[in-house]
């Protein structure tokens, strides 16, 4: 179970170019983060806080393979993205960079600014009034990926296992 965080509501079909604008891509994640979602919510980059959630409409993450569209959300501290559906390529990228996604058919019930929490292994979202929204179960190997912080730290552990203390 995560800590409670504030929900940022976004529409359907949020694309990768809105999350990580192309013109910022050569400057690195720090600059991309300052322009993340500026076309939809100009205040997002300024006001997002560590532990917040994104709650979006269908087909979140359509477009490019640029994984900065997922890692930028990890960078600014978003705990998870909750939406009725995700673009497949974005789905893979998110787990690979340690971003949790929850496929939640009833995501639209969550209000902008509402305090929510998620239970990834239980595949559910907990709303501020105590109601629970069911999500599609996430395969264990993907949850392990998020727990490890993404594929890079997971590979590091696999290739360079920490020495056991005697």
């Amino acid at each position: 179970m995560t800590a409670a965080g504030r929900a940022w509501r976004l529409p359907a079909e949020v694309d990768t170019d809105q999350l990580a604008p192309g013109a910022t891509m050569k400057h690195g994640l720090e600059v991309t983060a300052r322009h993340c979602l500026e076309a939809l919510r100009p205040e997002f980059a300024r006001e997002v806080q560590r532990g917040d959630f994104i709650v979006a409409g269908a087909d979140f993450g359509i477009g490019s393979s640029r994984e900065q569209a997922a890692s930028v959300l990890v960078h600014v501290g978003v705990q998870a993205v909750i939406a009725p559906s995700f673009a497949g390529l974005y789905f893979r990228n998110a787990f690979n960079v340690g971003l949790l996604l929850l496929t939640c058919p009833e995501a639209a019930l969550i209000a902008d600014g509402e305090l929510i929490a998620v239970d990834a292994r239980g595949a559910r979202v907990l709303r501020s009034d105590g109601r629970v929204l069911a999500c599609e179960p996430i395969p264990g190997f993907l949850l392990d990926l998020v727990d490890a912080g993404g594929l890079l730290p997971q590979l590091k552990r696999r290739l360079k296992p920490p020495k056991e203390t005697p």
């Binding site: 809105q18 192309g22 013109a23 393979s65 497949g88 594929l151």
Partner: protein
């Protein structure tokens, strides 16, 4: 054995299995990993260093430098320098620097053939499906996993068959077919499954047009877009460094499982996507009069030799409207050279076109960009708000025929009356 899809057969081979079922999650051996200057070295090099790992098989890696060339500023120069230095240091055997866009250069250099299982560090990687290869796009971190292990996990997809019967009429192209499919099924209609394009109209398409279909499978939200390879594939590959390929096993069996959608090529009119979604589509004749400032023929989607030829057929002997800028960025140096030797390039330039380098250009707004406030008709794949580097630009998508006709008229319009 039960009838199976082309996608199942390709995955079974890569997984070392006799057969696989949709929904299974399994691990595949990768035959080829392609990446470019933006998704590749600048991201992979520091992660490989952090892991102390090396590339699993350099002969299976292809690097194409296409996004930030020619270098427009210091940041672009830095990205490209990292790619070149890393390629030299690693002694990568397959590097194509400033020779064109990765999805077009890869098959033109003989790297693709039916039956291969490939990944690309770019969303338009499904282009490889035009050659009967299972090829899909992944992000840089997942590419790191491939480059270190030579493997990748996969959920065996369902297949969505897009069956096109009949024959396209003159001036209507694969781009119009794709926009029509996007209009009907939307940007995630492919549900990250395999889309297979089939039927008489698809079988009649030349390779470049099949590439356009498979390329924009990305816009359909499919993992891969496939066309069963045939004699057209064999002949094309034989001319591009991959002679004697086997096509026979690589097709979906009659009665293979999947969803089937039907389209009629004979009645299809040119299609246009409106700002700011490739799925917001209407027939070109139903569009309100739309004056354009820029007509853009570019990208892996819409500037291959066949695309340049299509534009030239419309433009030959005519001049573009005085207020329009017609920009042409051929998809590869090879396409540009062939267009030159055929006289196609002369026809484009005589009509008033400005020739740009063979690179990704303004398509994704990485290197160059279009001006703020402009209205654009473009042969590229995506028209998201701000995609081409200008937040206030309005980008319409159409075929190279439509882009050329719109440049002549000064408003977006139908090319067919110029083709008589």
């Amino acid at each position: 054995m039960a009838p199976t899809t082309l996608a199942q057969k390709l995955i079974a081979r890569a997984a070392g299995r006799s057969q696989v079922m949709p929904g299974e999650v399994l691990t595949c051996r990768v035959d080829l990993a392609m990446f470019h200057d933006s998704s590749g070295p600048r991201r992979l090099q520091p992660m490989l260093a952090e892991l102390g790992a090396t590339i699993w098989d350099k002969d299976k890696v292809v690097l194409v430098i296409d996004h930030y060339v020619p270098e427009a500023d210091e940041e672009s120069r830095r990205v490209v320098r990292i790619a070149r230095d890393w390629a030299a240091e690693q002694r990568l055997p397959h590097v194509y620097d400033s020779m064109g866009i990765c999805h077009v250069v890869l098959p033109q250099q003989g790297h693709l053939r039916p039956g291969l299982f490939c990944v690309g560090g770019d969303s338009h990687s499904p282009t490889g499906g035009a050659f009967g290869a299972y090829m899909f796009g992944i992000g840089a971190t997942e590419m790191l996993g491939v480059v270190v292990t030579g493997e990748i996990w996969l959920r065996v997809p369902d297949t969505i068959f897009m069956n096109w019967s009949g024959a396209l009429t003159d001036g209507v192209s694969a781009k119009d077919m794709m926009l029509a499919m996007l209009g009907r099924h939307g940007m995630n209609g492919g549900r990250y499954q395999a889309v297979e394009f089939c039927g008489d109209a698809v079988a009649a398409l030349p390779m470049a047009e099949r590439m356009t279909l498979c390329n924009m499978s990305a816009e359909l939200g499919a993992q891969v877009g496939l066309v069963a390879p045939d004699g057209t594939t064999r002949d094309w590959l034989a001319r591009h460094g991959a002679p004697g390929v086997e096509t026979e096993p690589w097709h979906s069996d009659a009665g293979a499982p999947g969803t089937r959608h039907h389209f009629d090529a004979a009645t299809l009119a040119p299609q246009v996507a409106l700002p700011h979604s490739p799925a917001q589509v209407c027939g070109v004749d139903a569009l309100e009069p739309t004056r354009v400032d820029i007509a853009y023929i570019g990208a892996c989607t819409g500037a291959k030799l066949d695309d340049l030829r299509a534009a030239a057929r419309v433009l030959v002997g005519r001049r573009i409207a005085s207020h329009v800028q017609l920009l042409v960025a051929p998809a590869s140096v090879r396409d540009a050279a062939e267009a030159e030797s055929e006289g196609v390039m002369r026809q484009l330039l005589d009509a008033g076109a400005t020739l740009l380098p063979s690179a990704c250009g303004a398509c994704a707004g990485y290197g160059s960009r279009i001006p703020e406030g402009s209205t654009v008709i473009s042969s590229t794949a995506r028209n998201f708000k701000g995609r081409m580097g200008a937040a206030t630009a309005r980008v319409y998508l159409g075929s190279p025929y439509t882009v050329a006709a719109s440049a002549l008229r000064g408003v977006i319009g139908d090319a067919r009356e110029f083709l008589a």
